[in-house]
């Protein structure tokens, strides 16, 4: 799977000191194709497709990715591998979405990791860029540290 982590470190969101919204308004729904809308634009990466399918049926609403497929509620959708971007936290997930419209930010599977934390971080990134939804996040002001 593709990793752009080092590049994402150079991307900085421009802080919005006066968002005209509440944090609770941040809508994380993410449409990746005509057929599929994810509840969150962050997936969990696992090694096998079988495990991804199994986990996605037991952990409802959390998308799992393996190889070139993403699973939500047990249903697979084929992806281009270049769209899967490994990220370390919810803020990096926001950056990945901002710089690549087709990105599926993905966190490595870890029994101790807390998916809610990543989503909370993504919501904060949306709030601090005055982005009510993912479409607005894709247009948020950024600068690159070269």
């Amino acid at each position: 799977m593709k990793s752009k982590k080092s590049d994402l470190g150079k991307i900085q969101f421009v802080h919005c000191a006066m968002p005209n919204m509440a944090l609770s308004e941040a809508d994380t729904r993410y449409t990746i194709s005509e057929r599929i809308e994810l509840p969150f634009p962050i997936a969990v990466m696992v090694d096998s497709e079988r495990l991804a399918k199994y986990l996605s049926t037991t952990s409802r609403n959390i998308p799992f990715v393996s190889s070139n497929s993403i699973y939500l509620n047990g249903n697979p959708v084929r992806l281009k591998s270049s769209h899967i971007v490994e990220v370390g936290d919810g803020l990096e997930a926001g950056k990945a979405i901002r710089v690549d419209s087709y990105a599926i930010p993905s966190i490595k599977f870890d029994f101790f990791s807390n998916f809610d934390t990543y989503i909370k971080q993504l919501r904060i990134a949306m709030f601090l860029t005055n982005s009510r939804n993912i479409s607005e996040l894709k247009k948020a002001n950024i600068y690159k540290v070269r």
Binding site: V14, H15, M18, I124, Y143, R146
Partner: protein, 353 residues
């Protein structure tokens, strides 16, 4: 929660903030102010520091230098002692000072004395303080009364969405806050300053406030991170990702200056005289210092603050003399250049001086 409990919670939080800032490392980790990327071209020939004039004026009153002590605390007996000691030093040095958020006295009027420092130090230019997202909860008359009760000359409205986002009891709703600030600025006697608390002000936000408020205090990234303070307080993990969030102070001054025609103040990570000289050279009208002042106060009381700030003021004169500038006006017209990555960022952000 009953009003009394809310007031006590606010009071306790103020004390926790002081302790964390003084005792823990809550500075930005990788991000700097970017002031180190600003170069000033010296004028030919050094001059005598005694001939350097850095006097300025604020709200029609003369001040010894364009330096102020940023508002930090209030609402607690210890905060009262800190504010009093800072006020005595600021008055002697003829520089303005701010107090911390006056929310505590709005919740509990008995705490007004912790901000009421003019009775110990006069003359003094005092900057009141109020959180932007608290404004919708109070009407303009109440805020005017709050400012008058401490004889504030100006008010800083601090906007802190980053801090609120990671604060356990954070108020994370900023809807209608901009309109409320604009309305307040039209209504009250004191000039309004819009300030951040360490994450900086962008040109987009500066543009919104152009001709609406008196000044923007950028409080940019590179010094104390309040996201870090709250992450430390909450012992939570999700705030760590945002520890270094924000617009570096130098970049933020340049961003604000490009769209805001009122005064632009530089603060956030100002630690030495050269930071002040560079801030003024890139367009700042005033420079604020916070953390080093509270550290000096805790070590040496009023005298500690006086000595620290006096050294800072003399240091500015020495730096200016070494560069060949005899006045603030000359320094503001200095030829400056930017090193990478600031140079490229300014180009990307379409910011021209």
């Amino acid at each position: 929660m009953p009003d009394e409990a809310v007031a006590r919670e606010t009071q306790d939080r103020k004390m926790q903030h002081i302790n964390i800032i003084i005792n823990e490392d809550t500075q930005y980790k990788e991000k700097t102010t970017m002031l180190e990327l600003v170069d000033i071209k010296p004028k030919k020939g050094k001059i005598d520091p005694n001939s350097v004039d850095i006097e300025a004026s604020l709200v029609g009153k003369k001040i010894s230098s364009p330096i102020f002590i940023s508002g930090m605390t209030g609402g607690h007996p210890v905060a009262m002692e800190i504010n009093k000691n800072i006020a005595i030093a600021a008055s002697k040095l003829k520089i303005p000072m701010g107090v911390g958020s006056q929310r505590a006295m709005l919740e509990n009027e008995a705490l007004a004395y912790t901000y009421d420092v003019k009775k110990f130090a006069s003359p003094l230019i005092l900057i009141g303080n109020m959180g932007a997202n608290r404004l919708p909860k109070y009407d303009n008359k109440r805020i005017q009364k709050m400012l008058d009760s401490v004889k504030a000359d100006l008010i800083a409205i601090h906007t802190n969405p980053g801090q609120e986002s990671v604060q356990p009891e954070g108020d994370i709703d900023f809807r209608g806050v901009y309109e409320r600030i604009v309305d307040l600025a039209k209504s009250i006697k004191q000039p309004v300053i819009v300030k951040e608390v360490g994450n900086g002000i962008s040109k987009e936000i500066a543009k919104m406030f152009n001709k609406k408020v008196f000044a923007i205090d950028v409080q940019g990234a590179g010094g104390t991170t309040w996201i870090g303070v709250e992450t430390f307080r909450s012992k939570g993990s999700y705030g760590n990702a945002f520890w270094d969030w924000g617009i570096p102070t130098a970049l933020s001054v340049l961003e604000a200056k490009s769209e805001f025609k009122g005064q632009v103040w530089s603060s956030g990570g100002i630690r030495n005289p050269i930071d002040i000289v560079k801030s003024i050279a890139i367009g700042a009208d005033m420079c604020g210092i916070a953390k080093p002042v509270i550290v000096a106060e805790r070590k040496g009381g009023s005298e500690g603050v006086y000595n620290f700030m006096n050294d800072m003021i003399n240091g500015v004169k020495n730096e200016m003399a070494a560069l060949g500038f005899s006045s603030i006006k000359e320094l503001k017209n200095a030829k400056i250049s930017f090193k990478e990555p600031l140079k490229s960022i300014l180009k990307d952000r379409k910011i021209r001086l």
